[in-house]
Symmetry: C2
Subunit: 570 residues, 2 copies
């Protein structure tokens, strides 16, 4: 096995591929070098002067180790792993630490297994973290529960790399027995545990870290970064679609540099397609003044070290030939991408076929509910004043406004007001649960709209000014197996986009999915949804009962600040 | 398991031990901090403000992660692992990457197993590398042979951490099948392989690295360091007794700092006792101008990262409480040493008992030979001119001088000349092999002296001007089970120091062993050995057939430059 590398390294035989006369990044020395890079099989065998069976002139190009995304939820792209890879690999990312938190909340371990198997035939190393918080909170009904015992069993699976972001911070510091079982199971297997501990500090952070947690991607300021790095955490600089903290890069210095890594966390298909993946992060970091050598080191060697990815993240003899050849370290336009020595993308286009999807039954038809009727959306409020949810522009933080309600036949009158009905319909266990609320200021009128993405349990979230349209919307989502829907009361028109994989992702190609999604989103705006919001995706966070202030789950209205359910009556 | 850490981290219960008001080194930020360090069981649970069941005032002291020696042969101390630990742990070293190359060349895997078992009850983490070169060369008879097949079997052993320094550089680059088998076996187990490749560069270094080798401790200049780091190697800064390259520290800069680590390689008991271990390296590095923060980081976090020692090498919540409390970062005098949270040394003295030795039969009585007589040392030279070995002052490099020989009764007359007879007597397999040579300029007269340490196969190496005394010396070494001996022809006196463990190390306490060793060494000088030489230890390298120029093994005289045996006749 080693012989072929050694002989080519010694120039006794030609290398398979030689990148000739390249400028290349030496991450160990933090500088650029000039010369040939020789590849044999899956490895780099040497730098210096080499002849290859195939030679690529890189005299005007720059060769970098290809990028490693330290933390990502593939589901946020709404794409299958195959399609996701077809977007990010051509951008230069060849390894991701993926936390299939969303699909596992819907499908349980079948969701994890699906991501693992779907990733087998694509030139992207998908290191799979076992989701640690399924469900994320006890305040909603999820499709699956992974308790401590399940974690003990599943963390041992070969396809499981580590334990996913441990969001249940109170559970750790309060020594919840089931939480400790999960953490201890990961330790017993010597697997890395990702963190998620916004604004935690002092002895609380110490306690959280004593759960054996290694990383954080939620830092918001210098003090937080400083303390977390001081206490041994690797800190992710994040370039998601909504949640970004590239600005944290200004706190990187020569002394702490090795403890920073890059991630995208949640990134939409449109962003991936139009702006890119980690290449976009690098572009912006460098434009904002970060040393390009440091920027790339964060995305390569540092991330490999953090996650113990041996022989990855650098250009050196015997290191895996995971390489991206870019035009320069300002634009980071990927000209060639190599994964394990194979050329897998050229000028931004994948050279691998992802047309065939792995698509097991276990992740399809995941919308389970009894047919709903208009009566299910009647809102019987016992007072004249009620709490209405509001939403900050472009954000996920919600507010609570006390509104006067007009009653009409045992229901709240919303038509002709700036109020809408909001409902979360349980879709996993046929519990019949429906959480109901009022929603102010979104702008939609004349029907209903809904989506089967509703963080983190992904029940159906619906809004509307017409009970029958809301029932029709929910029933349609069941029929199509999940996705997004709009029902127009006036015309009776029902428009939808199917997200067949767990109601979260589509098995279609990115381009046609996006086209249809965009059309549907435009339809929502045409029906009044203000352009301040992302039409459907803004809804998807109204159920996330860990972000202030007022949220709605299938179990009811939830006051995040009091951490308890609350009546709609004010 | 985690609960006790978390509760104390959160200050719900007192920590076991708190180092109060300490200055402590934050290796992640490259700076000093001030505060308490709380320890529970084997781990640090927090930094900040803590109360402890036991509290130690550190307001005038500095707390560092305790040191990790990246590469050491315990045998070079001539002490048992227990006694070795009693010298180095109080100096602040609590983890070593140990390569039992010497004892394995004598005893085979029984030697490895002995070191592993003898290390079980001492507060020193001994990470054991499987020696890769047993024998080191095919030009001598060793006590054991570990071929590729043996390596495949033994690398899987639980007590084996990695593969020891791969000195057979030609074997790697020439794709020797048995060599590749060894390297591949280590890869298959995902175990680290240490390197040893002096002066290797360019495509030859690339080829060597394609053996999957990670480290080097033999660098001699800036160019070599630069290239080796560029190609992904970790470079050890070495502080051995004879072989030192602390001067290489001047090539450390902010960009390459993370790729340097510290080691001692070979360090004598006297040095350990009088000057210290890595603490001595740190003292000197800092005295020579290296930033003390960097110096300690080399010996802690960097070394832990290189060898994948998780949760070791830093002061942070959940990291192992391997700590050394020093007076300051100039003197590095260790006041307290903690290993896995236990106080194991105080003011330079061990707090652990090493009086009981693990001493299996397999490493005792390892000198196997038939009784020798004066006739065995007759030197029948077929010409008037012969090659005589010479030795550089204080070094291990030898020369070759052509000398006129006077013959007397079929033997060479050495008495009254500046020549001595030198012999290597095979002592493992009863082959009866004796390699014979002439040795010039050492100064010894009036008998014979010898030792059972002769790198790397550790046969008996003897010199003398009296055949009968040489026979007596060899026979005495057999009787005492290995060690050092002087036979005085005039008085008939036989003086010796026993090295009962494999003929390499003593099971005695360091102090009494050293006393006797010093006395014997003085006796050698009294019989004429020039003070330029280390009396016995200078002999031990005359058989090392990989260091220029002329060497002697049990198979004969060896020309290292021609890499072939050579007749004694000139």
């Amino acid at each position: 096995m080693l012989e072929k590398y050694i002989k080519a390294a010694r120039r006794e035989v030609k290398a398979d591929i030689v990148l000739k006369n390249a400028s290349w990044l030496n991450v160990f020395q933090g500088r650029m070098e000039k010369g040939d890079i020789a590849i044999v099989g899956d490895r780099i065998v040497g730098t210096g002067e080499y002849d290859g069976v195939k030679e690529i002139d890189c005299s005007k190009l720059t060769v970098l180790p290809s990028y490693i995304d330290g933390h990502v939820h593939i589901e946020s792209s709404q794409l299958s792993p195959e399609e996701f890879a077809s977007l990010i690999v051509p951008r230069g990312t060849t390894t991701i630490i993926a936390d299939p938190h969303e699909i596992t909340n819907v499908c349980g371990m079948a969701g994890c297994e699906y991501i693992a198997k779907a990733s087998q035939n694509i030139p992207l190393d998908v290191k799979l973290q076992l989701p640690s918080c399924v469900p994320a909170t006890p305040f909603e009904t999820s499709g699956a529960v992974l308790n401590g015992k399940d974690t003990q069993k599943n963390i041992k699976k070969d396809y499981i790399f580590g334990l996913g972001e441990f969001m249940n911070y109170p559970g750790v510091v309060n020594c919840d027995a089931d939480v400790l079982k999960k953490l201890e199971a990961a330790h017993a297997m010597n697997k890395i545990i990702d963190g998620h501990a916004p604004a935690t500090s002092g002895s609380e952070l110490n306690a959280y870290l004593c759960g054996g947690i290694s990383t954080d991607h939620e830092c918001v300021n210098k003090e937080e970064i400083d303390e977390k790095i001081s206490k041994g955490m690797y800190v992710h600089i994040r370039h998601g679609s909504s949640t970004q903290n590239l600005g944290n890069a200004k706190y990187i210095n020569a002394k702490n540099m090795r403890r920073f890594i890059l991630c995208t966390d949640d990134r939409h298909a449109a962003d991936l397609k139009e702006n890119g993946h980690l290449d976009d992060a690098l572009r912006r970091l460098v434009a904002n003044g970060l040393d390009p050598v440091w920027a790339v080191t964060l995305a390569t060697l540092n991330c490999a070290e953090c996650y113990g990815l041996k022989w990855r993240g650098a250009i050196a003899p015997f290191w895996f030939a995971d390489l991206v050849v870019v035009d320069n370290m300002k634009k980071f336009n990927a000209q060639y991408v190599f994964k394990d020595g194979k050329l897998v993308a050229r000028e931004g286009k994948p050279l691998f076929d992802t047309s065939e999807r792995y698509l097991p039954k276990s992740v399809l038809n995941t919308v389970r509910l009894k047919p709903l009727t208009a009566a299910d959306f009647v809102l019987d409020i016992k007072s004249d004043k009620a709490k209405a949810m509001t939403i900050e522009k472009g954000g996920v933080v919600t507010g609570c406004e006390i509104v006067n309600v007009v009653k009409e036949g045992g229901d709240v009158k919303v038509k002709g007001t700036d109020l809408l009905k909001l409902a979360v319909v349980e879709r996993h266990k046929m519990t019949g649960n429906i959480g109901r609320a009022l929603f102010k200021g979104y702008g939609f009128t004349g029907g209903a709209m809904g989506i089967t993405i509703a963080h983190d349990s992904h029940n159906i979230i619906l809004l509307g000014d017409d009970n029958a349209a809301m029932a029709k919307a929910a029933n349609t989502l069941k029929e199509i197996g999940g996705g997004m829907v709009i029902v127009n009361s006036a015309t009776g028109e029902v428009s939808s986009v199917t997200l067949d994989i767990a109601g979260l992702m589509s098995s279609r190609a990115a381009e046609s999915l996006q086209q249809d999604s965009r059309a549907l989103i435009e339809k929502a705006h045409a029906m009044g949804v203000k352009r301040d919001y992302e039409a459907f995706m803004s809804l998807a966070f109204l159920s996330l009962a860990v972000i202030p202030k007022l949220k709605i789950t299938d179990k009811g209205l939830f006051d995040v600040e009091k951490f308890a359910f609350t009546p709609i009556e004010a």
